[in-house]
């Protein structure tokens, strides 16, 4: 059988549809833009005030001088709010046709019918479609877009909003706090188990668009929930910005898993702040798949505030030509017998750059706490690079910390071995890469694992020199 030449293909989700927005703010960020967004949403005054204060914080904070290169990010060139349609629909039929077409092409909401308990679809700044299984609603589970939750569940919303990530946290958290729109709000009542995943899908369609969703998840005592988000955007010559804030509260004995499969086009700056608070015996898991984007800076964190709380981050990052994935995890051990583990798998190819950046902190009260960090990098060629930057802060002597880092290349011997059994060089390379990320994909729900494998194969195509 002749050897097939690898085919080059473009980013699959790079198409864009025509702009059907019903309203968009002027380009650039002013107080007026923030007031506009708030007024459009008929928000309570406290939220408007918070937004305006956040804007001040944003102006004051300097650009981060660490991590990735942000020098080409121009805040004046971005549209901060685009309203794609008048309403959030519960019936797919009522979503405007153009938007529906987009999501159809992305395979939503077919997925919902098959295996999801609830789906939310955000297009530009607003959630255009939202639905959840009735039995969950009857159990008191709340799964709404954040704007609707602010209107309908204001007290609950206000009780948790910005409590784990204040606007002073970092420049991009401040930005999000000023102009946030959309995102998911989830509340799972005490001792309620949501067995199938809740999913949100985020799509940017416009050029120079900023998407600033705000997600808030509260898993009450003894409850459990799995939330999955997916993201894509069209390929444009100029950049878009995605800057989300995700706050999670995992109460005593509760369990939350947050799975992200992001596959942004490689002109998107993806600067996201994610933080969870895990109380006594609670368990928080971040499963984070970073494909695409121009620059990703994202370090999901867990504040382990209750005795016996557990935090787990499992991430993969893949950087190709012109891309930088600066990603990692943070674990803050603030109570006795807390435990955490971080598993980071990075792949760089065609001159891409991957950085693992992480913090593990043991506070004075963290007696008996333990953490295990494992960073593996696979470098596909000589132009690509990888960096591992772990910080450990230890204020208590009675802890245990293990760190393992490994950098490998696809070896000639491995390729020879696999090819001697009949696999082409491309198939052999793909097999080695898929094996490398297997600890990640095996944690995904089946359908996502299949999708993830497809995406990785797609990314790896044409990467054989």
């Amino acid at each position: 059988m002749a050897k097939k030449a690898p085919e080059m293909e473009d980013y699959k989700y790079g198409f864009h549809d025509k702009d059907v927005s019903v309203y968009r703010t002027e380009k650039g960020l002013t107080e007026q833009v923030v007031k506009d967004i708030s007024a459009r949403k008929n928000e309570p005054e406290w939220m408007l005030n918070y937004r305006l204060k956040s804007l001040e914080v944003f102006y004051k904070k300097p650009m981060p001088q660490w991590g990735g290169d942000l020098s080409e990010l121009n805040f004046d060139d971005i549209t901060y709010y685009v309203k794609p349609s008048e309403n959030t629909e519960r019936s797919w039929d009522e979503v405007p046709q153009e938007i529906k077409d987009t999501f159809d092409r992305l395979g939503i909401p077919e997925a919902e019918q098959q295996y999801l308990a609830g789906v939310s679809a955000q297009y530009e700044s607003e959630v255009v479609y939202h639905n959840m299984q009735e039995d969950l609603e009857n159990l008191g589970v709340i799964f709404k877009d954040s704007d609707t939750a602010l209107r309908e569940n204001e007290d609950l919303f206000r009780q948790y909003f910005a409590k784990s990530i204040p606007n002073s946290d970092n420049k991009f958290a401040a930005l999000n706090s000023a102009v946030w729109s959309g995102g998911s709000f989830i509340y799972v009542p005490k001792n309620t188990k949501v067995d199938t995943p809740l999913q949100a899908y985020f799509r940017i369609n416009s050029e120079n668009m900023g998407q600033f969703e705000r997600t808030l998840i509260i898993a009450d005592e003894g409850s459990s929930v799995h939330y999955v988000e997916g993201c894509t955007a069209p390929t444009y010559s100029s950049s878009s910005l995605h800057s989300a804030v995700v706050e999670i509260f995992v109460k005593k004995d509760a369990y939350c898993r947050y799975t992200t499969i992001q596959n942004w086009a490689n002109n998107v700056y993806n600067l996201v702040t994610k933080r969870a608070v895990a109380e006594e015996n609670a368990s928080m898991e971040w499963v984070d798949g970073n494909l695409g984007s121009k620059l990703t800076m994202k370090y999901p964190s867990v504040l382990l505030t209750g005795e016996g709380a557990r935090g787990h981050t499992l991430s993969i990052a893949l950087a190709g030509a012109g891309q930088h994935q600066d990603a990692g995890a943070k674990m803050h051990h603030l109570a006795p017998n807390t435990s955490s583990s971080i598993v980071s798998k990075s792949i760089s190819k065609n001159g891409g750059k991957v950085t693992y950046r992480g913090i593990v902190q043991f506070g004075k009260k963290a007696d008996g706490a333990r953490s295990n960090i494992e960073c593996d990098t696979l470098i596909m060629d000589n132009e690509s690079t990888s960096d591992t930057i772990p910080y450990n802060e230890i204020m208590n002597e009675n802890i245990s910390l293990e760190h393992e880092a490994k950098v490998s290349k696809v070896s000639e011997e491995q390729l020879f071995y696999l090819m001697s059994r009949g696999l082409s060089e491309e198939e052999a390379t793909e097999m080695i890469v898929m094996g490398f990320i297997e600890p990640f994909t095996k944690e995904l729900p089946m359908e996502y694992a299949v999708e993830m494998n497809r995406l990785i194969k797609f990314e790896m195509e044409g990467s054989i020199g």
């Binding site: 059988m1 000639e412 001697s420 059994r421 082409s424 297997e438």
Partner: protein, 260 residues
Amino acid sequence: MAGSTLEIKDLHVEIEGLEILKGVNLTINGGEFHAVMGPNGTGKSTLASAVMGHPKYEVTQGEILLDGENVLEMEVDERAQAGLFLAMQYPSEISGVTNSDFLRSAINSRREEGDEISLMKFIKQMDAKMDTLDIDKNMAQRYLNEGFSGGEKKRNEILQLMNIEPSIAILDEIDSGLDIDALKVVAKGINEMRDDKFGCLIITHYQRLLNYITPDQVHVMMQGRIVKTGGPELAQRLEEEGYDWIKEELGIEDETIGAK
């Protein structure tokens, strides 16, 4: 249909500029088992790797033909597709890829798209071969060679051989590091392959494997060449008397590569 024919003619091979093989001639037909024996450092493993196309080995002269086709122009995977197989002395470990997924991909790489082996058929076939080789069923779900003992790796090579069913196989020191029980099991697997469509080249230091697999021809390699060929009795004599008598007979002082 008779099996394939592998012809190695006047093969010269260099590794990093150093000539290792200095004119090897050998023909293996379907149905034949050949053994290549010889002390360490005489070029046996180089012969195996060069035939399979390892990128480190450069063929500077000579020919390798499989049923008349020029093997030297083929990529490694094309050689495999054409019917060659190499059971390696040190098989690579591939993390995250299960043994059974790998084996199925290998089988399917020889089949057309749409004609892949069915999962049930594959499992049945693999299970049967695992029984023959006395392999724990768990091994199917373990990652390819990762954490395998030396003996497990060797059995796994033979498991692949039995499932892939090549027309010509080269077994590079498949017996090294095996205890006598494992050796018998591996030999049983190889003997099961014996039919007139399958040709095999067994590379070994020791005669003991040949107590269980009777070769049709035995070749002795020294200084990068085959210096003597005979029947099974040659292996027997080597076992009893060592290699010195051959060296004496041929006037060789140092049998290793680079020696004059």
